[in-house]
């Protein structure tokens, strides 16, 4: 089951930081649609921030997510 993580502003808006989803071999687009059924805000997160798969920023939402992957919804960064 891929692990889905939300950080900072997105974590607060959705109300939790980590979720496990029982899917395999879905594109990021499909995964976003699965999540959006329960949490429609994720569509805004994608527009507003970045997606990371296995700790790397991914811009192509056709990227396939596998069972053991880690997907993160990241707001714009403000470190430093």
């Amino acid at each position: 089951m891929p692990i889905i993580k939300f950080f900072a502003k997105f974590r607060e808006e959705i109300g939790f930081g980590v979720l496990r989803l029982d899917v395999d071999n879905l594109s990021l687009n499909e995964l976003i649609e699965v999540l959006a059924r329960d949490y429609p805000k994720v569509r805004d997160f994608v527009k507003e921030g970045f997606l990371a798969v296995n700790r790397r920023i991914v811009r192509d939402t056709n990227t396939i997510v596998k069972r053991d992957d880690e997907v993160a919804f990241l707001p714009k960064f403000s470190g430093g």
């Binding site: 900072a8 700790r55 790397r56 707001p75 960064f77 403000s78 470190g79 430093g80």
Partner: protein, 134 residues
């Protein structure tokens, strides 16, 4: 050396450690980011930093390696704090050791710019008017 930690750090200790890295270090440049009281016209009471730790460690390590290669400096330390940080407290420290000052300044500037651009770290400002992710 890369560190992401809740606790404060000593600038002096890390500068001393950098000097000990090589007998050929002729310049040490540091950048210290500090929490300030006024931001966007609001009085800030406290900051809170959140970090995607695994990814941030990898990103900072990548920035460190790039800086060493690109500017041919001896070594780079990056320390970033997370959690609650009060006004005037330390947030981030970059220490660059090099043979000469020019590449040390350039590498230091490169590191802080790249941290702001690429590191998965977020700041929340707590003000009298409320709390804001910025």
């Amino acid at each position: 050396m890369i560190k992401i930690q809740r606790e404060d750090f000593s600038v002096e200790d890390l500068v001393e450690e950098m000097k000990r890295r090589s007998k050929n270090i002729g310049a040490v440049v540091t950048f210290l980011g500090v929490a300030r009281e006024f931001s966007r016209g609001r009085e800030v009471l406290e900051l809170e930093y959140e970090v995607y730790e695994d990814m941030a460690v990898e990103t900072l390590e990548e920035i460190r390696r790039e800086a060493i290669e690109k500017f041919d400096v001896t070594d780079v330390f990056i320390v970033h704090r997370y959690g609650r940080i009060g006004i005037n407290e330390n947030i981030v420290l970059i220490v660059v050791g090099a043979v000469h000052r020019k590449e040390a300044f350039e590498a230091c500037m490169f590191c802080i710019d790249e941290i702001k651009r690429r590191a998965p770290i977020w700041k929340k400002e707590k003000t009298k008017e409320g709390e804001f992710w910025v």
